[in-house]
Amino acid sequence: MEWLKTLISRPSKGVSGKTGYWRTFKPIYDRDKCVLCYECYVYCPENCVEIVEKVVKIDYDFCKGCGICSEVCPANAIEMVKED
């Protein structure tokens, strides 16, 4: 039953590599504009947004730069900036 080890996987963070390198535009957060509405946290499809002590933290190891957080932010606190 060797097949079982390939057929199923036990996920852990980064087991398939860090997907953040796919990113073309990077979300840059501005704490001063942020109203802590949590929209970015709710809408991030990759679960890359965390809010720690009233500050938005984006996990750039896995953020693919889709820009949804920036789009849904009512305070324009997340700006998409082209990667170098």
């Binding site: 039953m1 060797e2 079982l4 036990r10």
Partner: protein
């Protein structure tokens, strides 16, 4: 207990006796009365199972994919367009190595619309990793369904029990229905290689390395080869307990036969009558009924390479020959008659004439009986 049952109801009782826990299906003629009967037994409290109503066959097989993955004995049934609609999930089930059972009541694929028997629908499963059996009558439909759970669960491969539309599915005949205690003795608790466990999280359908993926296909192919032994062993054990022995094939007057007809499904019964008539005239003819299409009983057919062989097909592969004609012809030389497609009735008189022409050497490589 001997009683009168249609093939479909025989399957339904077999599912109950096999203590299936989850059934999901979408109605389609001629399959519907299988799950109708099961739904009735569940509603009356005679059967302890969940029946999940769904909006399509794709969902029906998806539901039992989930329940089988969760470790529950699961069953679905379909025909023709229903089977084609769930085709993607058929491969998910087999490539995920999930044991479960599906009855396929063979029916013509349209258009034009036609609800009568034709084996082409069932044959679409050939390359998918499903074990494929074909019942000749209601008794075999019941017996094969009970065996199917044991075979499927010991190999981690899904199992399709085929039965011909109307000829078997809706024809009532005497069926010996075993009692629950004896079936329990034959069929142990479900076992499987892996199952969903909330305390041990894993993913199925993950991306995997190409070479590793090819390796699991090879293991699947080896297990399908191993299935031949398991099928014969389970069929022998079934025979000891219930008095009706099963295996990959049924040999009817094959031993001393100079001429052998190879076929599968309900009409094998009519063909046996024609064999009897020719035998009375001193013609040494026999019939090899393929009870299983996958795994293919290659070794049995290899042993017949010194005989004259005719394959009678109820399915056709466009651009080539009859489906079984291809399969058998890949092992030994054979003539191929394509008959009974789209529910065209073929009786013992047709077989008598067909076999006479075969013995006289009048049949071409591929003949359409039309």
């Amino acid at each position: 207990m001997k009683t009168i049952l249609t093939g479909n109801h025989a399957v339904a009782y077999a599912v109950k006796l096999s203590r299936v826990k989850v059934v999901s299906a979408y109605p389609i003629t001629p399959q519907t009365t299988i799950v109708e009967k099961i739904a009735e037994m569940i509603a009356k409290g005679e059967m302890d199972a969940e029946f999940v109503n769904v909006e399509s066959e794709h969902s029906a097989l998806s539901v039992v994919y989930g329940s089988a993955l969760a470790g529950l004995r699961s069953f679905t049934a379909t025909s023709s367009h229903g089977l084609l609609y769930m085709y993607e999930m058929c491969w998910w089930v087999s490539n995920s190595r999930l044991p479960l059972v599906m009855a396929v009541v063979t029916r013509t694929i349209g258009p034009p619309w036609n609800i009568h028997t034709d084996h082409t629908d069932l044959m679409t499963l050939r390359d998918s990793g499903w074990i494929i059996a074909m019942a000749e009558n209601a008794q075999e439909a019941l017996d094969l369904t009970i065996q199917s759970f044991k075979i499927s669960e010991s190999l981690n491969l899904p199992f399709a029990v085929g039965l011909d539309a109307f000829v078997v599915s809706h024809t009532a005949e005497v069926v010996d229905v075993p009692d629950q205690e004896t079936v329990d003795e034959f069929l142990p608790e479900r076992k499987q290689a892996y199952r969903v466990d909330p305390n041990d999280v894993f993913a199925v359908g993950n991306i995997a390395d190409n070479l590793e993926t090819m390796r699991i296909r090879r293991e699947m192919a080896l297990d399908m080869e191993k299935a031949k032994g398991v099928i014969d062993e389970v069929g022998r054990e079934f025979g000891e307990i219930f008095g009706r022995r099963y295996g990959l094939v049924e040999e009817y007057m094959v031993d001393d036969a100079e001429y052998i007809v190879v076929m599968t499904g309900a009409w094998s019964g009519d063909a046996k009558e024609a064999v009897d008539i020719l035998r009375e005239r001193g013609i040494q003819i026999g019939l090899l009924k393929l009870r299983y299409i996958r795994p293919f009983p290659r070794e049995v057919i290899e042993r017949l390479d010194d005989r004259k062989i005719l394959v009678v097909d109820r399915s056709f592969s466009m651009g080539h020959r009859g489906t079984l004609g291809i399969e058998v012809g890949n092992v030994v030389d054979c003539k191929n008659v394509v008959a009974g497609l789209c529910g065209v009735d073929v009786g013992f008189e047709d077989f008598k004439e067909m076999f006479e022409r075969f013995v006289r050497g009048e049949l071409g490589e591929v003949e359409w009986w039309i």
